[in-house]
Symmetry: C2
Subunit: 334 residues, 2 copies
C-alpha cells in the first residue's frame, strides 16, 4: 500500500475554499470517474437483485430527519417549517408493501459548521429497504460494498492516482463481524476508556477495523434510531454499522420494527422524539408512517451507505473532502 | 389510444394532500416501476455513450439558478444567503475540460406556490453537458428520450395501468423539428394571438406538437438563459426545447457560449442578471464559471430533461402529480 503517494496525489483536492480552482485538475477527473464507477456497480447490483429505484423528497417534515436533529437545515416552505432531508428511509419503507425491494440514491444534508476532514453539509447516501431479516441485510450490504470496491479496483483511474488496486482486490466476503458488546470489551482490554452504552467514536472504530471492513452489530437501543427492531435481549437492537479503514462508519443499518405498538412505544421513548417535543413538534408528523406500518406489518430491513465514506476507503484517504468533486461545507458554497 | 382509461386508473394519484394514503396502491407501485425503467434506460445510454456521472451540489449561490430566479428557495447557510439548486448545468460545464461528456440526475427546486397539474416544487432533472455542437445535442436528446419511452413501452406495468404500449412504440427518430420563427408563423396562421419575441405558452406547445415529440429550435436570445450561444442571426440562440404531447416542454437545451467576451456581455445584458443586481448580487458570484470558460474555451452543449414531463407522455397523463411517487407541492410536504 502506497499511502504516502496517495495522500500526495489527492492533497490539492482537500481544498474547499475556491473549489473552482481544482475542478479542472486531472486528479479531480480521476476521483469523479472512480466515484461514478462505484455508483454504477451499486446500481448494477440493485438491477440484478430486483430493487426498484424511488425518487424520495428532499424537502420534508421531521420524518426526513435522522437521530441528530440538531443538524437539520431549516427552510421556509410557504410559511410551513420544513427541513432538508437527512434520510429517505421512512419514505422508502412506505413503498415496501407493494414494491418490495426499493432503493434511493441522493443527497443527505447536515448543518455541520465544522470545516474539516470528516464533516460535509451535503453528501450522497445510497439507501435500501426491503422485506427481509437482519442476516439478509448484512449480505446485501456486503454485496453492495464489495461490488463498489472491486469495480473501482479495475478502474484505470486508480493506478493513474498511484493507488494500489491490490489493497482493494484483497477485500473479500464475508466481512468480519463483532458485536457492540464484544467491541467494548476489546477496547477496554486495549486500555481504551469507554463504557457499555457509550457511542463509539471514529477513533474507536478505526482501531477495531484495522485494515479490513468490519461489521459492528447489536448496539444498545438507547443510542440508535427509534425504529430499529429490538433484539431478544431488550437492551439491544438488531442494528449494524459497517466500519471501513480510512473513513470509519460507512454504513448504518438495521432491521426495522414492524409491530405498531412497539414502534409507537420506541418512538415516544426515543431521545430524538424528546428533542422534537422541545421544538414544539408532535407525534402527528409521524402519523402517516405509523399508519402504514400498522396496516402493513411486514418484516423489513434497510441501510444507508455513505458513498463518500466508501470512496475514502477506495482512495485510501483520511480526508472526505478529497473524495468527491463538490465536497460541501461552510466555505465551499458556490 | 385509451386516454379515458388511463385518466381513470391514475386519478387517485393526483392527490397531494395526505399523499401517504396512496403510497401503498397498485397504481403508485406501477408508475414507480415505470419511472425507474425510464431512468435506467437513460443511464444505459449514458454508459454506452461514454458519459460520466457527476454529483453536483444542491445548495448553491446564484450559479445554481435558472432563468426564473423568482422561484428560488432561499436558505440560511451559516449566515450566508444560499439557494436550493435549480440546475446543475454550470457545475457540469466546469468538468467538461477534463471529463468530456458528463451528466447528473437529481432534484431541481422551484418555489412554486401553485397546487395544480403543472407545478411541482421539486422534480427530477436529467442533465447532460458535453463537448460538441447543436446537431450532436439534438441527436443525444432524441436518443435519450427515445430510449426512455421505448424501455417503458416494454415494461409490463404499462399494460397493468391500461395504457396502450402501441402509442409509445410509435415514437420514432428523428423527431420533427420546427424553428421558433416558423412556429410563431404557424400559430398566427391558425389564428393564435402571439408575436415574434413572446415566449411560447404550454397551450401553444401542445397545439404545435400534436401527437408526437417536436423540437422547437432557435429561440430569441432575449427570452433564454444567458449562456446559450448566439446564432449567425444575432437575434437568435442555438437553443432547442423538446415538446411532448400531454406535458409540453420536457427538455430545454442549447449550445453554450464559450467565447469569454461574448459570454460576459450576454450575462451582463440578461434579464436574469438584472434581477440579481436588484437583489444586491454582483458579477462576483459568476466569476469562477467565467474564469473556467476563459481558460478552457471548448465548444460544448447540454440540456435538462424533466423526468416527470417524460413520464407524463409515457403515462398519457395531463397531470404531473400522477406521474411520480412523491410529487412535491405546497400541500404535499410530509
Amino acid at each position: 500500500m502506497k499511502t504516502e503517494d496517495i495522500t500526495t496525489s489527492l492533497d490539492a483536492l482537500k481544498q474547499t475554499n475556491n473549489r473552482a480552482s481544482v475542478l479542472t485538475t486531472n486528479e479531480l477527473a480521476s476521483i469523479t470517474m472512480i466515484e461514478a464507477t462505484a455508483l454504477a456497480a451499486a446500481r448494477k447490483y440493485f438491477a440484478e437483485s430486483g430493487f426498484t429505484e424511488v425518487l424520495v423528497p428532499h424537502i420534508t417534515k421531521v420524518t426526513g430527519a435522522c437521530e441528530n436533529i440538531d443538524t437539520l437545515f431549516e427552510l421556509d416552505y410557504f410559511g410551513q417549517n420544513a427541513y432538508l432531508v437527512q434520510t429517505g428511509q421512512l419514505y422508502l419503507e412506505a413503498l415496501i408493501p407493494k414494491l418490495g425491494k426499493v432503493f434511493c440514491i441522493g443527497s443527505s444534508f447536515r448543518a455541520e459548521p465544522d470545516i474539516d476532514e470528516r464533516h460535509l453539509t451535503e453528501f450522497a447516501l445510497v439507501e435500501i429497504e426491503f422485506p427481509g431479516d437482519f442476516e439478509q441485510l448484512l449480505v446485501h450490504i456486503e454485496n453492495i460494498v464489495h461490488a463498489m470496491i472491486h469495480a473501482a479496483a479495475v478502474c484505470s483511474e486508480i493506478e493513474a492516482l498511484g493507488i494500489s488496486p491490490e489493497r482493494l482486490k484483497a477485500v473479500t466476503k464475508p466481512f468480519a463481524r463483532i458485536t457492540y458488546t464484544d467491541a467494548i470489551k476489546k477496547l477496554n482490554e486495549m486500555g481504551v476508556d469507554i463504557e457499555w452504552g457509550d457511542d463509539l467514536k471514529s477513533r474507536h472504530e478505526k482501531i477495531l477495523a484495522g485494515n479490513a471492513p468490519l461489521f459492528i452489530t447489536h448496539y444498545p437501543e438507547a443510542i440508535k434510531f427509534f425504529n430499529m427492531r429490538r433484539n431478544e435481549n431488550p437492551l439491544l437492537v438488531n442494528s449494524c454499522d459497517l466500519i471501513l479503514p480510512y473513513s470509519g462508519e460507512a454504513v448504518g443499518a438495521a432491521e426495522r420494527e414492524y409491530d405498531h405498538g412497539q414502534l409507537l412505544d420506541k418512538l415516544e421513548k426515543s431521545s430524538m422524539y424528546k428533542m422534537l417535543l422541545e421544538r414544539g413538534k408532535t407525534i402527528e408528523d409521524f402519523k402517516w408512517y405509523l399508519d402504514i406500518v400498522s396496516e402493513h406489518p411486514i418484516q423489513h430491513s434497510g441501510c444507508g451507505i455513505g458513498l463518500n465514506r466508501v470512496m475514502q476507503f477506495i482512495l485510501g484517504s483520511d480526508d472526505i473532502r478529497a473524495c468527491t468533486a463538490f465536497p460541501m461545507n461552510r466555505e465551499s458554497l458556490m
